[in-house]
Symmetry: C2
Subunit: 496 residues, 2 copies
């Protein structure tokens, strides 16, 4: 064995002390500068000193631990691998593997890999999980599948939490399953658990102020998207195969896009919303995410009533919609459209801002009709983003709502006319998943400019996963006329 190089042990312990003290400058100094330094854990691999430093500065310290074993594999006087077994103060053991290199700055880590014991459940993703939480009620095409149920659907024997602790505390135990849940159970699926949502589904971000932001495994350090946030992360991580959710203004399409999943927002009114907590009944639609186009389709066979099929569809792509998206997203969607022979067509989008405004106004007014009485005395119980939306919603009088409804009705007719019997190809979300902590107002506005089209039209929309050259997920959205959910699902399979 090569002997342990001089100074290595001291550097190892200096690092350990700095970690326990959350001494970020020392930690930064003991990690090699430059773009090739690596640090990985269950949340993903950070590449480069800058990413690692940013992570350290924002995480508020590592869990307290002690070192119970160390193993040194020295290569030469200037290089050694150090493997340590850690014992966490909160329980359990972890492991840390570090590559140490002696540089002009002294001993520094060029790569670190850290494991700590998983919690009982990831409370950013789940409120409750089981093996299963609810067993199947029958056998059928979904045998063996497991469902992450968004915490807006009733699960018999459990409460509906709606992403808000105060709501949960007052909630009753549900006497029956929501119809969508029941249909999945009857088809052989089990319920794995009840998954987090943005509060009352009134967000596209997933950044729930009470429970945290669920992880996005394909885009570490980036948000999950929402409001079907927990269900989507659960499916991304393989903790469930079907993420049942809702889509009012993009709440399926955005997390599907951010996390590289297949997702469908069904035709408004096509799937039962029985025992589903509403946000805005004019737009709320049942939806789900999966990791495969085939399973996305299989769920539809269970959840949607039979409809005639009309698989032949021309694809159409609208440059004015692509231009709402970031360049990297637009490029991916444009290539998808071109590869599949979509026709480019210019639409008059001058009314889009007015349509979006009417959508948001009517959505807000309806949300206040549903939740205002409960929310009004409890604004302090809401996260800042959702609170501001409810505060704005409270100010919308019936006249403004009626005017918005007139615009919505006109927009619906016009959008259905524009789409016709074709399939519109557009971005599911305007950007790749934003970094955790980034401002989201502009992103939300851009997203909703795109997502409101299917929302206003009451149209089905399927999001198909693609990625940027850098490997970040991008969602390509396919939108068709009302009731053509199955055509879209078949198309997604055929084009994949």
């Amino acid at each position: 064995m090569t002997p342990v190089p001089a100074g290595l042990v001291e550097a190892f312990w200096e690092y350990e002390r700095a970690l326990m003290a959350d001494d970020v400058p020392t930690l930064d100094r003991l990690f090699a500068d430059g773009p090739t330094t690596l640090r990985g854990d269950a949340h993903g691999l950070l590449v480069g000193h800058d990413q690692i430093s940013a992570f350290r500065s924002s995480r508020g310290g590592a869990p307290q631990r002690r070192i119970v074993q160390t193993h040194v594999q020295a290569v030469d006087d200037d290089h050694a691998l150090v493997i340590a077994v850690t014992e966490l103060a909160r329980g359990g053991r972890g492991q840390q593997t570090q590559m140490w290199v002696r540089t002009d700055e002294g001993w520094q880590v060029t790569a670190a890999h850290v494991s700590v014991p998983a919690p009982a459940l990831d409370t950013r993703i789940w409120r409750v999980v089981g093996d299963p939480l609810v067993p199947p009620l029958g056998s059928g095409p979904l045998d063996g599948e497991s469902v992450a149920v968004k915490d807006l659907y009733a699960v018999q024997g459990h409460r509906v939490g709606a992403g808000n602790p105060a709501w949960l505390a007052e909630a009753r135990v549900e006497p029956v399953h929501a119809r969508a849940v029941e249909l999945l159970l009857e088809a052989g699926a089990s319920v794995r658990g009840i998954a987090r949502t943005d509060e009352f589904a009134y967000s596209l971000a997933g950044t729930n102020a009470h429970y945290g932001t669920p992880p996005n495994p394909k885009a570490p350090l980036r948000i999950s998207g929402g409001s079907t946030s927990g269900s989507s992360s659960a499916v991304s991580l393989g903790q469930a195969s079907i993420g049942l959710g809702t889509d009012t203004g993009g709440s399926i399409r955005v997390p599907a896009a951010y996390q590289g999943l297949f997702g469908i927002r069904t035709t408004h009114g096509a799937a039962s919303t029985y025992a589903l907590l509403p946000l805005s009944r004019s737009f709320d639609a049942v939806g789900w995410v999966t990791r495969s186009a085939e399973l996305l389709q299989q769920v539809a066979e269970v959840v949607l009533p039979p409809t005639p099929r009309n698989p032949a569809s021309d694809l159409v792509s609208v440059p004015g919609l692509l231009s709402i998206a970031s360049d990297e997203v637009a490029t991916v969607v444009d290539r998808y459209a071109a590869e599949h022979g979509a026709m480019r067509e210019s639409w008059d989008l001058s009314e889009l801002p007015g349509w979006l405004s009417a959508f948001q106004t009517l959505q807000a007014w309806e949300a206040w009709q549903e939740r205002g009485a409960w929310v009004a005395p409890r604004l302090d119980e809401l996260g800042a983003d959702v609170r501001s939306r409810f505060e704005a919603a409270a100010l919308i009088d019936d006249d403004r709502a009626a005017a918005a409804r007139t615009v919505v009705d006109a927009a619906r007719a016009r959008i259905r006319e524009l789409v016709g019997d074709r399939v519109l190809v557009l971005p599911s979300a305007a950007t790749v998943a934003p970094l955790v902590g980034a401002g989201l107002d502009a992103v939300r506005a851009a997203n909703m400019s795109l997502t409101c089209l299917a929302g206003l039209g009451g149209l089905p929309a399927v999001s198909v996963p693609r990625s940027t050259p850098q490997g970040l997920p991008v969602g390509v959205c396919l939108v068709a006329g009302p009731g053509r959910d199955r055509d879209l699902l078949q198309l997604a399979i055929d084009l994949d």
Copy 2:
């Protein structure tokens, strides 16, 4: 940057192909021979080629995955670190860090660190978990604590699964909490979840045939102990702070010993067994495990009725009992006894085999009275170990049971007389935790020769964690007269 050494990339991919094909000989060849080769994951660090090879041979293949990123940090022509990001077929991303060294055998791995995404819940530990599963019913000394409830206690709104899927499938939804659960909730604790047990608590191993063996974080590759198996692993891992369980013949003491936890078996009859599924009412006792002696005591203040205290106690150690244990365990317990001034005393243990036999006979007869009607037509639904115990139990007639009870009664009186107002120091379990897959019959017999003393006596027993020089957990058991639970708990704190 040092260039990527020749042959490294080929070796990396050869390893990856062999891993996906579960080609153990190739994997063995590509890991460096000898005692310093390392492989670690969430289950612990394996040290030496032999341990790693044994692990590979028994695990039935790695999860299918593809490599989505690789980073090479080359040291020189013969040494390089390779970090890979993996994408698992079942969902989620993982990471692998490998130290590669060129030897006479070609490129070989000398250290590997593997991370894969955690499941929604560890189904070896839990049947259902929540954030929390049940919120507190009050506020008190257990504010902020979380409980892993052994799946024998009623949790309102949930079923009792008793470690057996067929039992669970027929179980009703419990209308109320078990009294012990209710007391914890009223004192401010929440229920984190319902934890696995050996079937009907009729084992000391934790090797549930249906749900697998919960992990033992302080002793990787070794069994958890049982029957309070899931609760103990949950506490070891920090997934709960209190593991509520039962102890009939060692079901708290053995997992506490194997996993390095504090544990108490309370005086028989002292804590309420209301809405607790019984195994053998003559011996069943409420118990719990924790990571600290202080919390072990705090739970007692909530669960046990008030009793007078008599803290002063002489310790006594019996060489004939130590000799039942393995040398490494006996050494640790003997040192503990010596350090704390225990008096060595020889007991006439000639009756111990008869006492143990009477204990096991009465336990089995009672278990058959409780479960026989249900078990008899469902023997095929039981794991082999538990099945064989029930099959033997079915053959015990009332006369044998009555004779056993006579011996039990005499043993109880004699054991209480021997212990008197002192505290007996003995091993909580006869050996360190056996390796997963090892034969357990002899271990069970040795364990029960030790644990049956408190069982027969109806006496309280506290297990205190110590460890071997190699770092494996050993339990030191303190046994006192009936009702002296609080004295033992205080003693455990004072001596710690």
